[in-house]
Amino acid sequence: MALVLNEDQALIKDTAREFCASRAPVSQLRKLRDERDPLGYDPETWKQMAELGWAGIVISEAHGGTAFGWMALGSVLEEQGRQLTASPLFATAVLGGSAIMLAGSEAQQAELLSQIAAGELTLALALEESPLHSPFGSALAAEKQGEEWVLRGSKQFVLDGHSADRLVVVARTSGSAGDREGLSLFLVPGDAKGVTRTRTIMVDSRNAAHVEFDAVTVGADSLLGKVDQGADVLEPLLDRARVCMAAEMLGTMDEAFERTLAYLRERKQFGVVIGSFQALKHRAADMFTEIELARSTVLDALSALDEDREDVPMLAALAKAKVGEALHTVSLEALQMHGGVGMTDEFDIGLFLKRARVQEQAFGGRAFQRERYATLAGF
């Protein structure tokens, strides 16, 4: 159990904090939104992130990464969360990268991981087919025809799917939607024939594409892992996603809280700062407590990934549930304590609320995580 950062990790976090605050701050997200940027992120910033080694932070040195580990990646994501930074890091390094690391053949790993680490390849995970997170709910069919696979169906809410170079597609090769068995993973070029991607701009100004697969044909070398055994990859992949999303949410929450504290110290009504009212002070103290509890769960979940511990699934559910709960409260309180200005688009705090609602739902909401935690704990 490592509940504090070591020196390397602390250094990475400081760098990330400084970088995100100066190169990828909230104002950058606003700009992307207001200019209706077709990509949804700034490619120059992404390039710089890759130069800092972030894209390959959990990739081995043999494959061109830095292998600093999950604690380090979590720290970077936390800082991105703090600035609501839009970047392909999550979809590429956490989702796509994990799929390749967990399931890729030697050849696939050799080809793709170094490209990811270099920031030359972006990925996305095409999983959901309904508005509720459903790990095994895929119905999109992959059928074998000779040496090739033909994919038919559609995916929704594919995080950064409109711009990713390749999609990791969760497809059904046997059984039916909801079955754990019978899932297979495929790597499909984003511009493959038969793929239609519709960009959806979400309420948090981020992207989640709708993707149609109309008889998309891919070669045998596109299969990631074993046929019908995709769930063995998907489960640890989603645990990583939950832990990393929790890390990002921690940053979002910290920042929303800090901005609220600053406002409590600055805004005056009745001749005094509003932070002097006990009604608000006690709620701030409660938020502080909840944030600290949430932080502990995130740090332990990240270290469990680094140590490859058996309790990763449970901690992933715990962290996402706990941070989800805390962020929910903090984001609403932040708005309330800002009064009227909190409701305006001009003031940033509302952006945190909107981002929080989307983060909360990603890879399973609070109810999903609590349920999963209880099941894993044997209740």
């Binding site: 509720l132 009745f270 609602r357």
Partner: protein
């Protein structure tokens, strides 16, 4: 609530239900369903207002000689329930529910004669100018000032968060006309012509993407001295009277019950296994809303007797707003990711852009976001709790 209605009351309910069924045009019905806040757009609100006026049901609580219906408490309650069921667009409350009662209580005969009919007809569309950048919760800190110049007041300063100011041709506002020991003294209640060249109005975009509130700047606006309600420097009395009406005295519960019903419909779309937790949450909320409903009825009865809901209206405001927020939150969870795309074109009235996901999901998130303001406006819920603890409990 299942009140035991008399035969006459049942007949009245049928009449009201029939009215809503026939009077609401398809367009108005759609406008009601696509509401993303407690406000409707001006043209929609006025179209509905006109229909209610013709029927004689626009302002049930006003005295009959000014257009009231003379309904019993039960009849008013029945009307509120049927309205909630029918989901018409919202009327703009500033003239009908705020200034109207204030003039009835504190206006001169000339003001009543001039303004009340124009409020009813919609000829005057009012906004409420209380809050200022530095005077929100601490309303008495307001700085907008009016200086007497012969038969006019000359008005300067800034108002903020003024709902519908960009639609309004009139504003009732609070301005400083004198400096006394207590900040509540020296405030006057003025009626301002928004078409005066010294008035400038800037809409404020909200988190939801909607722009319903404005910042309003006054630059040497000349207001005839006859346009004061109540006495000079004693506008606070009028304001307090009006705020109590704004905060409660209405009936929020029927609408809340309707919203719970709509949320229950969303439940049905979920997989069986995911229904239990939100269903339980809705049950809890329904118990609380029903308790509120009975309390609202009790308060209405009290108000009929004493003329004003009094400080207990703070309690209704807290409950009404927080329950509404809780219900809209469950709705957001129920529509899950279908609520998350930003698609204002899909809920714009008359637009034929197909939404991502089902139609019911389209307004859930913008409504939820706008509804966060319910615990901020009309005196934040923190301020309401301060009022209860001080004015009711004497702490």
């Amino acid at each position: 609530m299942k009140l035991a209605f008399t035969r006459e009351e049942e007949a009245f309910r049928d009449e009201v239900r029939e009215f809503f069924a026939t009077a609401l045009t398809d367009e108005l019905r759609q406008a009601g369903r696509l509401m993303t806040s407690v406000y409707s757009d001006k043209d929609v609100a006025l179209a509905w207002q006109k229909i209610l006026l013709e029927k004689g049901w626009l302002v049930p609580s006003w005295p009959q000689e000014h257009g009231g219906t003379g309904w019993s408490l039960t009849q008013r309650y029945i009307f509120a329930c049927e309205r909630a069921r029918a989901r018409p667009p919202a009327l703009s409350p500033m003239g009908l529910s705020m200034l109207g009662p204030a003039l009835l209580g504190h206006g001169t005969q000339a003001q009543k004669d001039h303004y009340l009919p124009r409020i009813l007809s919609g000829e005057d569309f009012w906004c409420q100018g209380y809050s200022e950048p530095q005077a929100g919760s601490d309303l008495a800190a307001l700085q907008c000032h009016a200086v007497r110049d012969g038969e006019y007041y000359v008005l300067n300063g800034t108002k903020i968060w003024t709902t519908h100011a960009h639609y309004a041709n009139r504003m009732f506002c609070l301005v400083r006309t004198g400096r006394f020991e207590r900040p509540q003294q020296g405030v006057s209640f003025l009626l301002v012509n928004m078409e005066d060249p010294g008035v400038r109005c800037e809409p404020i975009r909200f988190v939801s993407g909607c722009a319903t509130q404005c910042t309003v700047y006054f630059d040497n606006v000349r207001v005839p001295v006859t346009e004061i309600v109540g006495k000079e420097n004693e506008g606070w009395t009028v304001t307090k009277y009006l705020l109590e009406f704004e905060r409660g005295g209405g009936a929020a519960a029927p609408g809340l019950l309707e919203a719970i019903g709509n949320a229950r419909d969303l439940l049905a779309a979920l997989p069986e296994a995911d229904r239990a937790a939100p269903a339980r949450r809705l049950n809890d909320l329904e118990v609380q809303v029903h308790s509120l409903e009975l309390t609202e009825l009790r308060t209405l009865a009290e108000t009929e007797r004493t003329g004003s809901p009094g400080p207990a209206s703070s309690m209704l405001k807290i409950q009404g707003s927080e329950l509404s927020q809780a219900i809209s939150e469950v709705a957001v969870e129920l529509v899950s990711l279908y609520g998350m795309p930003f698609q204002p074109d899909a809920y714009r009235l008359g637009s034929n852009v197909a939404p991502i996901g089902p139609q019911e999901a389209v307004t859930a998130v913008p409504f939820y976001l706008n509804n966060r303001a319910a615990s901020i406006y009309a005196g934040s819920n923190e301020i309401q709790r301060n009022i209860i603890s001080k004015a009711v409990l004497g702490l």
